[in-house]
Symmetry: C2
Subunit: 203 residues, 2 copies
DNA sequence: GTCTATAAGTCGATAGAC
DNA sequence: GTCTATCGACTTATAGAC
């Protein structure tokens, strides 16, 4: 049945990226060899170079694809800053929990990018952070939020929300919906103007 | 002046660890060779094995030392849970900003540890997280804090506080004291019972 | 305490057959 | 589109001289 040689009609390209992603996340970019990737894809090492000019381009395309999907997957919903912040926070958690490997390498392997590639990824990351900062800025103007520094609040919230990927397990004590609700509650309270936020959490 | 050979009276050992730390943080454990470490220390590669049984033990000792120092450097001060939380948060930020390289590798290189070594580091990390969780639990009992889930609040706060190391620069817009104060304000508001916290931030 | 030399193997990437 | 074979350089770790 399964051919062990010959053309594979466009399935090898995606498979290379999928295997590389998994191995990079598991062992780290530098610790994974092209031969190891080839073995798990089911081809010889030389064949990988039909799908990537070199090893680092393989990493860069994974990271760029991830960041571009992150930016494409969310646009601010209608409603005020509070509703937008809730949507952003919940979407951020969902998106990141769905892609733990990509999140991991997009953080950890930045230092393995060439300076040009690094600049591209940092630009995309900055664009994403700016969305949250804009929501907070709008809420400050309306008096709905009260933060001492827009940039710090942005970075603090993103760190907290992204950190979920380091400990969440699907077979754990809480569901994704639980986590989403509880984190949103902490986010809201961290930035709400006193007395202006949503009603206190049910308890 | 500087000898290029011969005994160096106990200065080489610390230098090996110092150089390894810097290079591991910069390029990643797997990407750094023993020859590269030796070159920057100023010895030949073989001499490194007088100071470490192998490359992985070098990494493990850096991580273990870091975690043990983290645990030794703080004990709960007197006062109630609110005062303890403030002290914990401020100390966490200070300690981590003082050791960005160690913080980085203690997170990123966990996957390069043997299972036994990994278990040791995870145990130390758990002990540290338990301290924050205990403060939150005590505050809940007193009605000073209000969190929906102790474990999630613990992980959320630690993620936020540790995240400072990813963007803080000493020549940036804000001082360490600024950052400490602003983060503490967000932490306090994220977990305080309504109406029970410290007075609202001056604005 | 450090050196030199070396074992035994892996690395990324390319050339050319099919 | 994939294979085999290969280049030149690099790897961790050890042995034994000084």
């Amino acid at each position: 049945m399964a051919r062990t040689q010959g053309s594979h009609a466009g399935t090898t390209g995606p498979k290379v990226r999928e295997v590389a992603l998994r191995l990079f996340a598991q062992h780290g970019f530098a610790a994974v060899s092209m031969r190891q990737i080839a073995r798990e894809v089911g081809v010889q090492a030389g064949a990988l170079y039909l799908y990537t000019p070199d090893k680092q381009a393989l990493l860069f395309e994974l990271m760029r694809g991830h960041m571009e999907e992150l930016l494409a997957a969310w646009t601010p919903p209608g409603g005020g800053p509070m509703a937008q912040l809730e949507d952003f926070a919940r979407h951020h958690i969902r998106f990141h929990l769905d892609r733990p490997d990509l999140v991991f390498i997009a953080y950890m392997e930045l230092r393995n990018l060439s300076p040009e590639n690094f600049a591209v990824i940092e630009g995309l990351r900055g664009a994403y952070e700016a969305r949250l900062e804009n929501i907070l800025r709008a809420g400050m103007a309306e008096g709905v939020f009260d933060v001492a520094d827009l940039r710090l609040a942005t970075m603090g919230l993103i760190s907290m929300l992204t950190g979920v990927t380091t400990w969440f397990r699907d077979d754990g004590r809480l569901t994704r919906a639980d986590v989403e609700a509880i984190y949103w509650d902490m986010v809201r309270r961290a930035v709400s103007a006193e007395g202006a936020g949503a009603p206190a959490r049910a308890s």
